[in-house]
Amino acid sequence: MSNSFLSFPKNNQPSPKFLRWLDVLVLLAWGLLLLKYAITGQYKLLIHPNYFSLIVVSSIVLLGLGLLKTFIYWQSSLDTIDNDEHITLLPTGWSGTLLLVVAIAGLMISPRVLNSDTALARGVSNTLPLTRSQPQAFRTSTKPEERTIIDWVRTLNAYPEPDAYAGQPANVTGFVIHLPELPDNYLLLSRFIVTCCAVDAYPVGIPIKLEGNRTAYPPDSWLTVTGTMVTENLASTDSKTTKRQLILAAKTIKSIPTPADPYDY
């Protein structure tokens, strides 16, 4: 009992050797995970591309630390600081195990593209009036048919007069949301805007008017729609009043696979 930290029975606890190598594994696994996201481009599903270099640098630092630790433990006489009486404490093992489990799960399970459920949960219907202010400058010089959904939303924010855009050609890509408040021959073509990471992604969208029923285009499928902008009176979010707004009357609709970088910034 001379040392209170040594007084716990050993049998329940991972050995110091195990914990040392757990540390190494945690560092290497997290380095690999970040490297995987950087190489596969999956980081685009998680964070804003501005942080790409941050991920690469962190991955290099973590891998470097892991390799350095491996080297030190290999020549184990070099390393004496890891006082066993502290390292052998069970909760320390938990923390490392937790990190390792999450890293391995991350290596095995790919991140998922945010879908229409998330969009509805985050209030995509709020964007029907299209009144959100945007962090980035909108590109006014873009030709109408080159505008993305986000460009359209930004342009409308800058000059919110639907009639000004009526008759303009449009060519946009996004995923399908079946908004409950829209009639059956309308769907919302939507994109998520990411400012920092997937956590703050928020959806914007343009209502698309179809020739037939929207059931041909299931939610979350990706479409490229060309057509002409028109203005119509549609039921607003509270479904009691109607609101005049810009709508894309579809001429051609093409199904496309989910793009590698589904978000806009």
């Binding site: 001379s2 040392n3 209170s4 930290f5 716990f8 540390d23 945690v26 560092l27 997290w30 970040l34 996201y37 980081y43 599903l45 998680l46 964070i47 942080y51 991920i55 640098v57 973590l62 630390l65 350095l68 630790k69 030190i72 070099l78 004496t80 600081i81 890891d82 006082n83 502290h86 404490l89 069970l90 909760p91 320390t92 938990w94 923390s95 490392g96 937790l98 990190l99 999450v102 991350g106 399970i109 991140p111 998922r112 945010l114 879908n115 459920d117 949960a121 985050r122 209030g123 709020n126 009144t131 959100r132 945007q134 962090p135 400012t195 920092c196 990471c197 997937a198 956590v199 703050d200």
Partner: protein, 340 residues
């Protein structure tokens, strides 16, 4: 299943975003080991509790870390002998009062300079006030886990402790950490605090500072990483299973919009370096005082950060800080709403 996969994606998204900043914070805090004159530095801190808290709030300028990086630095400052009041002020102010965050807020809200200015002023005021309050905490035992007090004081001091009398002068708070209960006793999760102590007494160890540095980086990364995972998991779960509209619909008038944005800030748990861009996406739907509340409160307290703060304080103290910070943010931003 889809929801679960979504939650996992958001969870990873939070972690991938926070990990580089945590790494930066841990590297910065461990590099404080190289500061040979830390005693002098700390002696230079004003003795006056208020000035001490004010200086502590401004230390963030030296360590441009967000709320994932400030916890390791605050812990290290505590170990170096900084008083709890100064450390609390630093902890609350550093994520906002630093050049990177002020710059990014300016980029986002350059057209409304009052938001940038009042974000800095109010954060500084709140951090200083709370730091001031905590500087009156003479009895550091009451900040500690009762189980830790029992462990530290009731037991015979270990030989290691008796060899290092200066350990007793270190406030007991410094010897805390995260404690998990096991077989009726509290186990410190936090070996690094003890391992770091030899830096006060270089003679007790033959290890070079660079090895201390490396070991410290790995230990802090492991311990704080574990807490970050728990915090991010809770934040991601709430994000997926509580619709955002539920929070947004709370905020339609001056008072409830401030409360809603504070709630959102705590739930969303995004880094202070980028939260102004996030807030900007609400600029059209919310009052500027509520955006200000989001920008002030979020960096101080969020779910992800509480996980990290548990490695310093016991839950009750975090609840106090949470409550005082929330009230001050509310009062300040409400006052702001009457003038702007």
């Amino acid at each position: 299943m889809t929801q679960l996969h979504n939650a996992f994606t958001l969870f990873l998204s939070l972690l991938v975003e926070a990990m580089p900043f945590l790494l930066l914070g841990v590297l910065l805090s461990s590099s404080l080991l190289f500061l040979t004159d830390e005693r002098k530095l700390i002696n230079k801190l004003p003795k006056n509790p208020f000035l001490g808290a004010l200086v502590g709030s401004c230390v963030g300028f030296l360590f441009p870390v967000c709320e994932c990086g400030n916890v390791p630095v605050a812990r290290r400052l505590l170990i170096k002998g900084v008083s709890p009041g100064v450390a609390v002020a630093f902890l609350l102010a550093a994520p906002t009062i630093n050049p990177v965050v002020i710059w990014s807020t300016w980029v986002a809200f350059g057209e409304q300079p009052q938001i940038v200015i009042f974000r800095v002023l109010f954060s500084l005021a709140i951090a200083t006030l709370i730091g001031f309050v905590f500087s009156w905490q003479v009895e550091s035992k009451s900040i500690l886990q009762p189980a830790l007090v029992k462990l530290l004081w009731a037991k015979t001091p270990s030989p290691k402790f008796s060899q290092e009398p200066q350990l007793e002068r270190v406030p007991a708070l410094l010897q805390s950490g995260t404690f998990l209960l096991d077989r009726g006793e509290a186990l410190p999760m936090d070996g690094s605090l003890f391992d770091a102590l030899p830096s006060f007494t270089p003679s007790t160890t033959s290890l070079s500072k660079s090895q201390l540095f490396l070991n410290n980086v790995v230990q802090e990364l492991r311990e704080l990483g574990g807490m970050l995972i728990l915090g991010s998991a809770i934040a991601a779960t709430i994000q997926v299973f509580v619709p955002r509209e539920f929070i947004l619909h709370l905020g339609q008038d001056t008072i409830t919009s401030i409360l809603a944005m504070m709630l959102l800030a705590a739930v969303v748990s995004i880094c202070s370096t980028v939260d102004s861009f996030f807030a900007l996406s609400f600029a059209a739907t919310f009052t500027s005082s509520s955006l200000l509340a989001f920008l002030i409160f979020g960096p101080m307290i969020d779910i992800k950060g509480i996980g990290l703060m548990l490695s310093i304080f016991k839950p009750r103290i975090i609840a106090y800080i949470f409550a005082i910070a929330a009230q001050l943010t509310f009062i300040f931003t409400l006052t702001y709403s009457y003038f702007f």
